[in-house]
């Protein structure tokens, strides 16, 4: 079902949805980025169209709403464990097709990889409805078309929205929400549009041509000299799903505390460190190689699509101007032309 809203009508819809849902969308925070006089585009709660930043890419994705940066797993008192209580909130997340597709990757790891579902991810994920923001122009560092994540199937969203000068047109295919949309707007025919060409294209290397020599290639040594292992590419990535579990004991009562998890990244020191201090990837270039292979090979070997969605955030945040899309293309050239 398609609908057309004036801005005012759309705000009324948001007001109505706000009764039941926490609505997350990209927002612009003036002068709040890491460096002075730079705006931070990030996810936050919104109640109106005017609060949303729909013309810029968010620095971080919406991942943190479903996979929080720090999440308590359970509390303990002496030996007794009490699972952290669940939220009663329900969420609507406004996001672009690449980011919606990133959740498909997270779903694979948290819900399908291994023998059991991740209960913490699952119980938040089930509370989310996705409102996909139509994105036909992309941004400078995007390469979603090459990663086949520029489009979204209608079963993967509750609503698909086109934001225009004078209003919002959209498609709704969620029975829970149809009535609220109908109440606010006129019905129209709506056909979602997707970006079909990015400024950047990557050539994915042929899986079968990957040789041992590629792992040893000088390409990775160069990254050893540039990467500073800050992990920004990991934290900004909408598909990075790794985490570390830690315990804390409360100062007031050392017999009680909590076990929590927090984001971890394969570029960051200690990621592979075992008891006794052995690390498997000391060289930063090896970490770049590992991440690259994971994003464009290894994940795809286990599931039926690659992990990287081509959002380009890792390029946007790298303090050393390392470009992941350039890395993929260099790797491709090396593999095609022979090592």
């Amino acid at each position: 079902m398609g609908f057309n809203f004036s801005k005012n009508e759309f705000n009324q819809l948001l007001e109505s949805l706000d009764q039941e849902y926490q609505i997350y969308a990209p927002v612009r925070k003036k002068n709040k980025d890491s460096f002075s006089a730079n705006d931070l585009i990030t996810y936050d709660l919104v109640k109106s169209l005017e609060e949303m930043e729909l013309t810029a890419k968010s620095k971080y994705s919406a991942k943190e709403i479903v996979f929080p940066i720090r999440e308590t797993l359970f509390h303990f008192v002496e030996g007794e464990q009490f699972m952290a209580s669940d939220t009663e909130n329900k969420y609507i997340i406004f996001l672009r097709p690449c980011d919606r597709n990133a959740f498909k990757r997270l779903d694979k790891i948290f819900l399908e990889n291994g023998p059991e579902e991740d209960i913490y991810y699952k119980r938040l994920r089930e509370k989310v409805k996705f409102f996909v923001i139509e994105c036909t122009a992309g941004f400078d560092s995007c390469f979603c078309v090459s990663m086949d994540s520029n489009t979204v199937e209608s079963r993967d969203y509750s609503a698909f929205l086109r934001f225009e000068e004078d209003g919002v047109s959209c498609e709704v295919n969620d029975q829970d929400l149809a009535a609220e949309f109908e109440a606010q707007a006129e019905e129209i025919d709506f056909e979602p549009e997707f970006i079909r060409k990015n400024k950047i294209e990557v050539n994915l290397p042929d899986r079968d041509k990957l040789t041992n020599e590629v792992f040893e290639h000088q390409l990775w040594t160069e990254y050893s000299q540039r990467c500073i292992a800050c992990g920004r590419c990991n934290t900004s990535c909408p598909t990075c799903s790794c985490f570390t579990v830690k315990d804390v004991l409360y100062d007031e009562n050392k017999k009680s505390g909590e076990r929590f998890r927090r984001w971890a990244g394969c570029h960051i020191d200690g990621f592979t460190e075992m008891a006794g201090g052995h690390n498997f990837r000391e060289e930063y270039g090896d970490r770049m190689r590992y991440k690259t292979m994971h994003k464009i090979y290894d994940f795809g070997e286990r599931f039926d699509f690659d992990m990287c969605v081509g959002c380009g955030r890792c390029d946007d945040v790298c303090p050393e101007y390392i470009s992941f899309s350039k890395c993929i293309n260099k790797l491709s050239t090396i593999i095609e032309e022979g090592v």
Partner: protein
Amino acid sequence: MALTAEKSLKNPYLSQKAEILEIFQETEIEYTFRLESDFELNFGQFLEVSIPGYGEAPISVSNFTDQWLELTIRKVGKLTDKIHDLETGDFLYLRGPYGNGFDFENYRGKNLIIAAGGTGLAPVRSLIEYANNNLDQLSDFEVLAGFKDAGSLLFERDIKRWRQNFDVLLTVDKTCDIWGECVGLITEHIAELHLEDISNTEVIVVGPPPMMKYSIIEFQKLGVPDNQIWVSYERKMHCGLGKCGHCKIEDNYVCIDGPVYNYADVKEIRD
């Protein structure tokens, strides 16, 4: 703070309490803890072991029966320091078992050689015990165990008992020796093995990464094909559930796909 006990919900991150029944000193820094257990275990699997407040770590089950299991734990950090303060009657917190473990069917009726370096003996100890009790299910059985020095020798009481039934070759890297026996790297002793029926031989190699690498090379030189070599990889198996990512090597999650692999399947993979 609202505490809600939701234990009925399936939560693989919650662990269960297990009483320490006995503690055996192995070395100055390694002790074996025998714990009450109703886990259904396979040889070479591991558990996530914790004391709430001090963290959690993957530890191989170093032996088990229907009533108890053993964990051989080296004192190397915050959690294991705390574990070493525990006494009989205290509790550890366990979840698992995780990993595939060794399938005895791969070795039944064969000549089985196990080469273990240092604490690598722990994950194969339950398999060795089974073999010791069922020698008729193997054509031949031999264990090569390498240690850094006499002070790091593990399972001394077991080795003496095993030796009544099959060959256990002990090697020591450093000058001091164990019981007046051979000294030198385990790899040198692999080279001296006389394998009579290679097509009916299976080899298990477990230990620190360099020991495994060079031991495998020696077995290959003897003519053992890669698909008759089995390895158990130690990585940072942090969640045990295939989620946290720390133990991944290429497309393998060691915690769920391993830690036991046929070498032919993993010889090309890179950390």
